[in-house]
């Protein structure tokens, strides 16, 4: 078992003929992901790497291949449309890697995707990987190994760092999920924690947050109320200086400023392990499993 993706995942790559899309499509295929279709408008009928059929639209790709998941590598001005097109075509898991999507676009995409009953991961995220089964996105496959720790994170390279250290210490992962750092994203910590709690393979969770906002505090509340499995947390930006003030509205709406201290306090209050350094995850998880 695992969460969100496994070896039954049938993947579309939107933007498969672009620079990033083609590079990562190959990497995913080498990892063993079932890449069943690519979408690039105007290139329908061609084949990627002489095996994967390319379609003009996501709807055609779904109809012809029975794809259930898509990963998006299109440039920022087209990303909102790509996500909505996928949701409209009935794709149930949409992973958007694209960085730089305007946040006002996301205020439209989010409710649309939700109404269609799809799950969106990202945008501006590294995607996810179930080691040994399927990788969707850009997380380097060789730093992961199958096991029992669920990993969820707001940042890309910090996730790699922690996963790399876990793997070196012999601690495998059930699924690693990068939710992305944008202000509006499709899947939050709580969604992933809930999935890990239900997943029989996952025995413990490593969670990497950042300063800003209140997602980590809410996640800690969720852990306290709903989770039996141990969770270890980390907050990046503990020493970041307070940014220059930008008007009053941010301070009014968040009440507090989303500092690291406040988030770590919420973790402790929820009985979570608190990693001071990325390397501390190894010991804290070993103690709890």
């Amino acid at each position: 078992m695992s969460v969100f993706i496994d070896n039954s995942t049938r993947l579309i790559v939107q933007g498969i003929t672009g620079r990033d899309g083609s590079f990562h499509a190959k990497q995913m295929m080498e990892y063993g992901t079932k890449v069943v279709a690519g979408v690039t408008p105007g290139k329908g009928g061609q084949k990627f790497e002489s095996t994967v059929p390319i379609f003009n639209t996501v709807a055609e790709a779904v109809q012809e291949t029975g794809a259930n998941t898509t990963v998006i590598y299109v440039p920022p001005p087209f990303a909102a449309d790509a996500m909505m097109e996928a949701a409209d075509a009935g794709v149930k898991l949409i992973v958007c890697i694209t960085e730089g999507v305007p946040v006002l676009d996301m205020t439209q995409v989010y409710p649309f995707v939700k109404e269609k009953g799809a799950r969106l991961l990202g945008p501006n995220c590294p995607g996810l990987i179930t080691p040994g089964q399927s990788k969707v996105g850009i997380i380097p496959g060789r730093i992961c190994t199958p096991g029992n720790v669920g990993v969820v994170s707001r940042s890309g390279t910090l996730t790699y760092e922690v996963v790399y250290q876990l793997t070196r210490a012999g601690i495998g992962q059930s699924t690693c999920v990068g939710i992305g750092g944008d202000p509006i994203n499709g899947t939050n910590f709580i969604d992933v924690l809930e999935a890990f709690e239900k997943d029989p393979q996952t025995k413990a969770v490593a969670m990497m947050g950042e300063i800003g906002g209140t997602d980590e505090q809410e996640a800690a509340q969720y852990v306290k109320k709903n989770m039996k499995k141990p969770v270890v947390g980390f907050i990046a930006g503990q020493t970041a200086p307070p940014g220059r003030r930008m008007g009053h509205a941010g301070a009014i709406i968040s009440g507090s400023s989303g500092t690291a201290a406040e988030k770590l306090e919420a973790f402790r209050d929820a009985g979570m392990g608190v990693a001071q350094r990325p390397m501390d995850f190894v010991k804290l998880l070993q103690e709890r499993m």
Partner: protein, 382 residues
């Protein structure tokens, strides 16, 4: 991206928001001439990207053009939160009856643009939010329908009992919302929204922050950027597509990814050092980015050691290695460097670095400790 008050007001005027007339001056003589042209008492207001301008002495009431000149002389060139005032807005001084607050922000929790309005506006609005939250009314906007008239009027009545004033405020809120969306803002606020003794509702101060991700598709908004009001090293970094924030320490950090960059800074502090900067070279790096990053970091005289921490995923570590070699050939380093890289094309990167006399580490913890030690010892030697 921050824009100045006068720029935000220019935008809002185009949407019909009533705003007292005013112009920008860069010299005291210009300020005096503008005040003379307006023919009324004026406010001279520092145009910098920082809050608390009034409390810092950057906003002054001037009954005559001569006083405007005098106050502009004092304000131009003054420092507010580390930023030098290069421009002042000279604007008609409004008669203020009451002060309300109207703001919109993209809210993470509701995933919508949310209005916040309060009859208790003015400079202490955050205090109001903290101590008497019931005085603030929140209203999320459904992006499919925009801000409907009845919604705006509900908020108008939350601010004012008088129906004419409520309607005027509602109209301003709809104009503000339209400007917010069209300009691609992440924040827009009018504070204070003033009712004059004659009963008119006008915007006396305005602020807008533009979502950086909108700038590519809105060149007319991107053109509002005022580089003279930003830190020069941050401008240089942005033009090189790097995210850079100058800090006070002596360990210069070059990292890929914001989360890892922050975690690296945290670790520098954990081991007793002080980071000199936050620098994220981002994904899909090329050697040129690394050359620019090193140029910016080595230009800072307080940097005593340089730390690279690269975890290659989408970033190719051989690109980074090539960048380090190129940069140091152009400009030989005067301070020690610690390079940690792992991930995509690591073997090639290690070989490139080795061929050019650099040692590469693979462990983040070791690398940070080494860099802190070098920065500290180097500092003690001098």
């Amino acid at each position: 991206m921050n824009i100045h008050e006068y720029q935000a007001k220019d935008i809002l005027r185009r949407y019909g928001v009533p705003i007292p007339p005013g112009e920008v001056a860069t010299t005291p003589a210009q300020a005096e001439a503008i005040a003379r042209r307006l023919g009324t008492a004026v406010m001279v207001k520092a145009q910098v990207h920082a809050g608390g301008r009034g409390k810092a002495g950057g906003v002054k009431f001037c009954p005559t053009p001569e006083v405007a000149r005098e106050k502009a002389t004092a304000i131009l060139g003054m420092q507010i939160k580390g930023l030098t005032v290069e421009k002042v807005l000279v604007t008609e001084a409004a008669d203020i009856g009451t002060e309300a607050y109207v703001g919109i922000i993209v809210d993470r929790a509701t995933k919508k643009a949310v209005f916040m309005v309060s009859a208790a506006g003015g400079i202490d609005i955050e205090e109001v939010a903290a101590t008497t939250p019931e005085k603030i009314h929140y209203h999320p906007v459904d992006p499919r329908y925009g801000l409907r008239s009845y919604e705006a009027l509900q908020m108008g009545f939350f601010l004012y009992k008088d129906v004419k004033q409520a309607r005027a405020a509602a109209k301003i809120m709809q104009q503000l919302y339209k400007a917010f969306v069209d300009a691609g803002c992440s924040l827009a606020e009018i504070n204070p929204l003033v009712v004059t003794p004659k009963g008119e509702v006008i915007a006396v101060d305005a602020k807008m922050v533009i979502d950086d991700n909108e700038l590519d598709r809105k060149p007319e908004v991107a053109a509002l950027r005022d580089e003279s009001s930003e830190d020069p090293s941050e401008v240089q970094a942005r033009n090189a597509n790097l995210t850079f924030i100058k800090l006070d320490g002596n360990v210069g950090c070059v990292v890929n990814g914001a989360g890892l960059a922050m975690a690296t800074m945290d670790l520098v502090k954990y081991y007793g050092g002080e980071p000199a900067n936050f620098l994220d070279i981002g994904g899909s790096s090329n050697p040129e980015k690394v050359v620019n990053a090193l140029r910016i970091i080595t230009a800072d005289p307080s940097v005593k050691a340089i730390l690279f921490n690269i975890f290659g995923g989408i970033t190719r570590t051989d690109d980074v290695a090539n960048g380090i070699v190129t940069a140091t050939k152009q400009n030989p380093l005067k301070v020690p460097i610690v390079i940690r890289l792992t991930g995509t094309n690591e073997e090639i990167a290690v070989k490139i670095l080795g061929d050019n006399g650099f040692k590469a580490m693979t462990d983040m913890d070791e690398a940070v400790r080494a860099a802190v030690q070098l920065a500290t010892n180097g500092g003690a030697a001098k």
